[in-house]
């Protein structure tokens, strides 16, 4: 029995715990066994079995004593290695932070522990969340538990939250924290047949999360059902005075949004998302998604987001610019790696050359360039103006519709070496997701089905600011219509 506990959903596990069918310790043990069994996926950078068992034991004791329980009491979770965890190594997937043990806890993870959740360990990710494949991690790539039918080639889980996606998909965690700066929750969710939501900018505190691009970064959950994401987000979100961009708005019980009722809701189909040379399978799934919602009583309307094609190049000015500034703190003085040098500058330069991987160095260089004297107006200011136009597109579209339906990604999961050497090809993974970050809107990816090779594909919903409820409501209908029950073979 207990060997299958890791197959439950969060909602199912909460029910089982409440009925005393099993204990939080047994639940954690089932996950620790799965983690040990699937170490070849390289999903975890650090496993914290002792912490998991003591947190689970404490949850069992709270339950036995009939104390007040949290929304995630006894639930085993994986934590992306971008979240600072008190006394537990936090690296952001980078050599420059190897060995760094924060003396404090991020607000989001602190909220989860307050809700009774149990930490299994820290999961792998693209270095500083820069990547769409998890291949940029200093700690090695992560395997996607899914394989193409009749082909044993190892596929990437997407990124940057690749470890989160792989751990959830391979039943090595009931859910995971993740972050999304350009698609880093939604793209890996789509690649692994899991659900992931990037909430509205400001919904979750960024305090204690290693910063990449501060005006775009947002934390969110990944799990195996829409409801599980609703439960997790409810515990993660909330106002935090320590993050001045965290908003002081009430967080509702998102599970109540899962009514299944989308009658009269207006769903927008942005015509500019129909890319030239789009995969027919992606197009078919997108059409199917619209049909499911129509059948459930929603109204489907075409909308126009005319500046869509400029979103990625805009992002590749803004995100590297903010990153070059944020990552200036890694200088070999206060924490992390130091490579000795003859002078202070020499020490800085050697430390940063050795500590940062290729993609991170590339983005810091782009960011430094677009912010440098003489180029600031031509690039950075230009990108900020484009960002205004992209935001205006969404303002206009949301006058006519309540949510927008798009594919999550332009393709299914790929293997290392397939288009992974050309940075621009890699950046195109985020073509459907990056707009939501630029405008700060919430987006969810829900599994829609399998492609002809047996790999999962995702559908994305983008909603109005702070209307996560609409995403859960419509996402729930997509989920039940898609009836996605496929599992990666062997997990």
């Amino acid at each position: 029995m207990s060997s299958e506990l890791n197959n439950l959903t969060i909602a199912g596990a909460l029910e089982g715990l409440a009925k005393k069918d099993f204990s939080a310790v047994e639940l954690a043990q089932a996950h620790l066994r799965a983690m040990e069994k699937h170490r070849d996926l390289n999903a975890y950078i650090v496993e914290t079995p002792e912490k998991a068992l003591s947190m689970a034991k404490a949850s069992d004791e709270r339950r036995a004593k009939r104390e007040k329980l949290g929304a995630l009491d006894g639930i085993s979770l994986a934590i992306k290695d971008l979240f600072c965890t008190d006394g537990v190594q936090t690296t952001a997937g980078s050599h420059i932070l190897e060995g760094f043990k924060p003396p404090y806890e991020s607000t989001v993870t602190a909220n989860l522990w307050k809700a009774g959740a149990v930490m299994l360990g820290k999961v792998n990710m693209d270095e500083f969340a820069m990547g769409s494949s998890n291949l940029t991690s200093y700690f090695g790539g992560v395997g996607n538990p899914w394989r193409r039918r009749g082909d044993n080639k190892r596929l990437v889980p997407g990124g940057s939250s690749g470890g989160s996606a792989s751990a959830v998909s391979a039943r090595m965690a009931l859910g995971a924290t993740a972050t999304d700066t350009g698609g880093s929750i939604r793209q890996p969710a789509a690649f692994t047949g899991t659900v992931g939501i990037k909430p509205t900018y400001g919904r979750c505190s960024r305090w204690g999360i290693v910063a990449f691009a501060s005006s775009l970064d947002q934390a969110g959950p990944m799990a195996r059902s829409v409801k599980d994401c609703a439960i997790m987000l409810g515990a993660m979100a909330g106002h935090d005075p320590k993050d001045s961009t965290s908003v002081d708005l009430p967080v509702s019980d998102y599970t109540k949004a899962l009514t299944g009722d989308v009658r009269g809701l207006r769903v927008g189909i942005p015509k500019e998302y129909r890319l030239d040379g789009m995969s027919p399978e992606i197009e078919k799934l997108w059409h199917e998604g619209a049909e499911w919602l129509k059948k459930a009583g929603a109204e489907i309307k075409e909308v126009s987001l005319p500046h869509t094609k400029y979103a990625l190049p805009t992002y590749y000015i803004i995100a590297p610019a903010e990153a070059s500034s944020n990552l200036a703190r890694y200088d070999g003085v206060r924490f992390g790696l130091r490579v000795p040098g003859e002078s202070l500058d020499d020490m800085y330069e050697k430390t940063r050359a050795e500590g940062f991987g290729k993609e991170v160095r590339r983005r810091i260089m782009i960011g430094t360039y677009v912010l440098s004297a003489g180029y600031y107006d031509a690039y950075y200011l230009k990108a900020q103006r484009l960002r205004s136009l992209i935001a205006r597109d969404f303002d206009i579209a949301f006058k006519d519709v309540d949510v927008i339906l798009t594919p999550s990604t332009p393709s299914a999961a790929f293997a290392e070496g397939e288009n992974t050497d050309d940075p621009i090809q890699m950046y195109l993974n985020d073509v459907f997701t990056v707009t939501a970050n630029l405008v700060g809107l919430p987006g969810i990816s829900v599994p829609g089905g399998l492609d002809s090779q047996g790999l999962p594909l995702g559908l994305q919903l983008i909603g109005r600011a702070f209307d996560e409820e609409a995403l859960f409501r419509v996402g729930g209908v997509l989920e039940s219509s898609a009836n996605f029950t496929a599992k990666p073979a062997g997990y």
């Binding site: 060995g99 760094f100 043990k101 924060p102 003396p103 900018y201 400001g202 005006s215 001045s244 961009t245 500046h307 094609k309 400029y310 190049p313 805009t314 590749y316 000015i317 070059s324 200036a328 200088d331 070999g332 003085v333 206060r334 924490f335 992390g336 790696l337 130091r338 003859e342 002078s343 202070l344 500058d345 020490m347 330069e349 940063r352 050359a353 160095r361 590339r362 810091i364 260089m365 782009i366 430094t368 360039y369 440098s372 690039y379 200011l381 230009k382 990108a383 900020q384 103006r385 484009l386 960002r387 205004s388 136009l389 935001a391 940075p423 621009i424 630029l438 405008v439 700060g440 600011a465």
Partner: protein, 95 residues
């Protein structure tokens, strides 16, 4: 925009990342490719469009200017690659 090795060396210096001389040309080519792709933004007339600096349409909150945290130098220094006598250390900067 085509970046030459000299420009890349200057950017690397500004970013405090050591780039070996031999790698400058290849890096210049790679960065030029990305910048050229980015320059499609010039197709869009943005005259009179306000630059967007963030997505929150509200003023950032202010708090009282007082010390609310601190007093634990050991915790602050525990991750330092080199600390001495309660301080961070750096290579000699004054001759």
């Amino acid at each position: 925009m085509s970046l030459d090795s000299k420009t890349v060396a200057h950017i690397a210096m500004l970013a405090r990342i050591k780039v070996p001389e031999a790698e400058l040309a290849a890096l210049a080519k790679e960065l030029s490719g990305i910048m050229t792709w980015i320059e499609q933004l010039n197709e869009v007339d943005t005259t009179g469009v306000e630059p967007m600096t963030g997505v929150l349409h509200r003023n950032l909150p202010q708090r009282e200017d007082k010390i609310t945290d601190g007093g634990y130098p050991d915790k602050i220094l525990m991750n330092a690659p080199d600390a001495a006598h309660g301080f961070f250390t750096v290579p000699k900067v004054v001759e």
